[in-house]
Every structure is written in structure tokens, then in C-alpha cells.
Symmetry: C7
Subunit: 74 residues, 7 copies
């Protein structure tokens, strides 16, 4: 049996909604359509959240991995 | 079928208008004419935005990828 | 006898509860299900803590290693 | 036809006046005489700007690429 | 005679008590059980200190090297 | 004809007085006696400046390149 | 004749007293017993200074190179 690795989670949630906490206290929610080895991530229908409230609709975004604290299936 | 990767989005939006959120709370809008593997990006007719308002016309700029939080088709 | 290395601790606590202190003064608790060489970590049933109090239930998260100050068996 | 890359802009503006926005809220203007792969840049007759106003004449400077947000033909 | 190198100190203090000053103004004391080339360090019976006073008992921790200012035999 | 590169400026000013602006708002002046590929620099008779005023005589110093914003012939 | 390089200064001051300015406004003085290519440095009889005043006796310390602004023979 092969050992699980953190990026397996990214494979599993591709095509699904995710919640992403960023370093600058911003959170973003959207459907993950792709990722790469730097954790750069494309989200569709992305929304910026302030606390739990919608702050801005962002549409499709390419998010640089270096800004991410954590990613979670939404 | 080949898997999509985040940089495919940059290929798709080359020649089109993009919105870029930077780390220092600045946002920039412009037409993307080129990018490289570090996400360095050249924008034509770039404009610096403060909230939704135009703050400064920047013309052509070469933006260092390390300053970027996300890029979005405008 | 082979020398112990810090990542041996991560192997030992895989499947167990861990406490993680992050750089932005946030702490997270959860069951570690996987990690990689960058100390990226997947936690199940993750909880964000403020001081010792529960602040938010996060569920499954993939945490980027670069945000971590220390990890401890909980 | 070969694809344009961001550093092509640096080649084009070599010998010309450029405007450079730095991370620490400082802007610099000068004639670019050389650059390298790290975006280290030599400017002649460089001037430090505060808003649009001249703050200091710097003469020839070697600017480390890591401090740059964007470069623009002036 | 071979020249001493800084990591020789880490070898010497393995199994002994060390004091570690971190970047975020936190200090930690504990018995070092292992380290690696990134200066990631496992401490047993770790204690967080505020000034000279005990702030929290942390038990066993894996500390990421990038947060360290200095390490000292305690 | 070979293209000029930014480090050519460092070669030219070796043995001469330079002015260096650092990231933490400190400026240093001194005679550059050597440099390497990381822009680490040795200065002789170095002086720390606050605005234009002498703040401290530092003597010979080895300055880490990563702290530098720009270097200029003084 | 071989060109001098910045690390030659570290070789020269090994075994001697040095003054080290760190990024977090702390200064440290001590006798340098070893260094490596990352500028990690071991100091004996290290003292933390606040302005010119002794703040704490640190004894032997291994200082991570990344925290250093400059090193100077004391």
C-alpha cells in the first residue's frame, strides 16, 4: 500500500469547492479546477470572504501558492 | 486527455485584460502581453486601482511575479 | 544504530492528534494524516484555537509547511 | 514566430528612461544601462521620487531585483 | 586537523538542554533530541518562555529551522 | 562587443567609496574592498548614516547582500 | 594574485571578537569560533547588546546567517 501524501488531497478536491485561508487575513472560496507543484491554484467562481461574509465576487482566479496558509474542502 | 495546469490560464488570457491583486494592497488592471515561469507579467495600458477607482495610469509595466496574490481575467 | 532525524517525529505522529503553532499567532489542532518534505501537512478534524479556546472547526485541511513554527503531539 | 517574454521588455528599454516602483513605497526613475536574470538593474542619473516629486538625486545605482514591484518605460 | 563548523555545535548538544531564541520574540527551552540540515530541531520537555518566565509547557516539539535566531546550550 | 551586466558596476567600484541603502531604512557608506555573487560586500571605514548625518563609525564590515536595496558610487 | 572575497573576512576574524548587527534591531558581540557558507556562525562568550549596553550574557550560541545584517571585527 502506497503512503498518502498532502498533494493527494488536492487531487481529490479538483473539480470541487474549496475554502482557502491566505496570509493577509483574506479567505477565498471557489471551485478548484487545477493546481501545480508550487500549490498555485485556479479557482472558478471565486469569492473573497471577510469573516464569513461575501466581500467580492472574483470569478476565475489563478492564486499563487506562496500566499496560502491552508486549503480545505468547502 | 492532458490535465489542466494553472499556467494554462495565463496562456488563455494572453492578449486579454486581466485584474491583478498585489501583496501591498494595490490592484492593477491591464492587457497581459507576456508572462514567464516566475509569473513575471507584462501588462499594456496598466492602471493602478484603489478600491474600484483609478489611482494612476502606468502604461506598459513589467510586474515581478513574487508580488502577486492572484490574477483574474477582467 | 541509525541516528534519529526530526522528520522521524512526523512519521511517529501520523494518524495521531497534533498541535501546530503557526507564524500568524494562530494555533491549529487535528489528526495528522500525511506530510511531505516541505512539512506540508494534512489534518483531519482540524480546529483553529485562540489561546486555548476553540475558534473555528476547519474539518480536513492541507496546511503549507512554510507557515509552521512548531508541531507537537497533542 | 517566437513568443514574447517579460524580459524582452527589459531588452527594449535598455538605454532608455524607466520608472521603477519598489516594495518600500519608494519610486525611482533613471536611464537603464543593464540588467540580469535576477532583475538586478543599473540606472544612470537615478532619482528617488516621493509621490511625483524629486526626493533625492542618486546618480548611478545598482538596484537589487528583489525590491522591485514593477518597471515601466518612463 | 579538520576545521570546526557551526553544525558541530548541534552534534555536541544533542541529548542536552538548549535555549532557542525565535524570530517572533518567543524563546523555547528543552532537551534537543535531533536536528537536520535545515536546522529543524526536535526538543523534548520543551517550555515556552516569556522573558525568563515559563509561559507554557509544550512537551515534545518539532521546530522549523527557519524561525530560529540562535541556539545555545542551556 | 560584450553586453554590460549589473555586476560590472561592482567590479568598477571595487576599491572606491560607495553608498548603500538598506531595507531597514539604514544607509551605509564605505570603501568597497570585495563582493560576491550574493552581493555580500566588504566595506572598509564604513559609516552608518541617518538621513545625511553620521550615526556610527562601523570600521570594516561584511554586509549580507539580501539586506541591500541599492548600491551607488559615493 | 587571487581576488579577495567577502568570506575571506570571516576566515580572518575566526578566533577573534566580532560585533554582529541582526535584522530585529538586536546586536550581538562575541568571539567567532566557526562559520559556514550560509553565514551561520558560532560565537563564544556572546553578549546581547541594546544600544551600547549589555542586555544579556548568552554564552555559546549558533546564530543563523539569515538574521544577520552585517558582521564586523570588534
Amino acid at each position: 500500500m502506497q503512503q498518502e501524501r498532502p498533494f493527494d488531497l488536492l487531487n481529490k478536491v479538483t473539480g470541487q469547492k474549496v475554502f482557502i485561508r491566505l496570509k493577509n487575513n483574506v479567505s477565498i472560496r471557489g471551485r478548484m479546477s487545477s493546481f501545480d507543484a508550487h500549490m498555485n491554484i485556479v479557482l472558478e467562481d471565486a469569492e473573497e470572504l471577510d469573516g464569513g461574509d461575501l466581500k467580492a465576487k472574483l470569478g476565475t482566479i489563478l492564486l499563487r501558492g506562496g500566499n496560502i496558509i491552508f486549503i480545505s474542502p468547502a
